[in-house]
C-alpha cells in the first residue's frame, strides 16, 4: 500500500523556515513584551486593576487620549485623501516640496515637533497670537493635543492612499462618465470603493500612532490632570513614583482598549466588504 502524504507539498520552497522565523520574530518583538506587561499587571489581581481602571484621573486621561486620537485620525483621513489626490493628479509649482513635507513627521524627532508646535501655537507665537485675538487658545489645551496628533498621523494616510490613486485606471472614470454618471456619482460608485480600503487602513494607522504618541504631545498639551493629561504621560508619572504595578496596569488597560478599537475598525471593514462589496 502506497503511503499518502499528510499534506500537499507547498510549491514555494522554504515555507517551514520562513514561517518559523516569522513566528519567532513576532514572539520576540511583539508577543513576549506584551505577555510580560500583562503578567506584571496581573500581579495586582482583578480588584487592583479594576480600582486603577475606575480611577477618575485614569478615566479622564483615557478619554482625552482615545478621543483626540480618533478625532485626529478622522481629520487626517479627510485632508490626507485630499492631499494624496492633489499630489498625484495635479501638476503645479512646488508639488515636489509639498510631497517631501508630508514625510516630515517621520524624520523630525517627536520632541522637536512638540516644541515647534508649542512655539507656533503659544499665545505669543505666530499662529497663537492671531488665534488669541479671536479668543481661541490652542497651546496647553486639548486642542493642542489634536494639532500634534494631526501632525504625526497625516503621513500614514497620505502614504497609504497615494499608491492606490496612482494605480487608479482613468478609463473607469471615463466609462462612468460615458454611461451618464455625474462627478459625484463617479466619486461615490467608482472611486470610493477603490480608495476605501486604503483610507480605512490609513485611519487605523493614524489612530494607533495617535494613541501611543508621547513626545510631541507633552510639550503642547499643558498636561493638566483631568483636563489635558494623556495616558502615556500618566504611565511615566507612575513610573517616576516607582509605582510599577500602577504603570503596567494602566498600560494593560490601554492595550485592551486599543485592541478593542482596532478590532471594531477591522470588523467594520469586514462588514462593509460583505454588505456593500467594498472596503
Amino acid at each position: 500500500m502506497s503511503r499518502v502524504p499528510w499534506k500537499a507539498p507547498s510549491p514555494l520552497p522554504g515555507f517551514g523556515v520562513t514561517l518559523g522565523f516569522t513566528l519567532a520574530y513576532l514572539c520576540a518583538i511583539v508577543l513576549i513584551p506584551l505577555l510580560a506587561l500583562i503578567a506584571r499587571a496581573a500581579r495586582l489581581g482583578f480588584a487592583g486593576i479594576g480600582a486603577i481602571a475606575v480611577d477618575p484621573r485614569v478615566l479622564a486621561s483615557l478619554r482625552v487620549t482615545f478621543g483626540a486620537a480618533l478625532m485626529a485620525a478622522v481629520i487626517d483621513v479627510v485632508f490626507g485623501a485630499l492631499i494624496a489626490w492633489t499630489l498625484t493628479r495635479y501638476r503645479f509649482p512646488g508639488r515636489r516640496l509639498l510631497d517631501a513635507l508630508v514625510d516630515l513627521p517621520f524624520a523630525l524627532p517627536t520632541a522637536v515637533a512638540g516644541i515647534s508646535l508649542a512655539t507656533l501655537y503659544a499665545p505669543n507665537g505666530w499662529f497663537g497670537a492671531a488665534l488669541a485675538r479671536i479668543g481661541v487658545k490652542v497651546a496647553y489645551t486639548r486642542a493642542g493635543i489634536l494639532v500634534a496628533l494631526i501632525f504625526v498621523g497625516l503621513p500614514f494616510v497620505v502614504r497609504t492612499v497615494q499608491p492606490i490613486i496612482e494605480d487608479l485606471d482613468a478609463r473607469l472614470e471615463e466609462a462612468s462618465a460615458t454611461l451618464g454618471a455625474n462627478r459625484l456619482q463617479t466619486l461615490r460608485r467608482v472611486l470610493a470603493p477603490q480608495l476605501a480600503p486604503a483610507l480605512s487602513t490609513g485611519m487605523a494607522l493614524a489612530f494607533a500612532r495617535g494613541v501611543g504618541e508621547y513626545g510631541s504631545v507633552i510639550f503642547i498639551a499643558g498636561n493638566i490632570p483631568y483636563v489635558s493629561e494623556i495616558t502615556p504621560l500618566l504611565i511615566i508619572v507612575k513610573l517616576e513614583e516607582y509605582n510599577y504595578g500602577g504603570a503596567t496596569a494602566i498600560a494593560a488597560i490601554m492595550l485592551a482598549v486599543s485592541f478593542a478599537m482596532l478590532l471594531v475598525i477591522n470588523s467594520a471593514q469586514n462588514w462593509s466588504r460583505r454588505r456593500l462589496g467594498f472596503v
Partner: protein
Amino acid sequence: MSEAVASRRAISRVADEPRPAKAAAIALSVAFLALFFLAPLLVVVA
C-alpha cells in the same frame, strides 16, 4: 447628437476637471500643509 460625440464629451468632462475644483483642491492642500507642516519646520529653522 450622435453617441460618439456624447461619449467624447463625457470623457473630456472627466479629463478636463473644472478649474475651480482643481484650484480649490490645490489651495486647500497647500494651506493645510503650510499650516501644519511648513510652519513648524520654519520655526525649527528660525
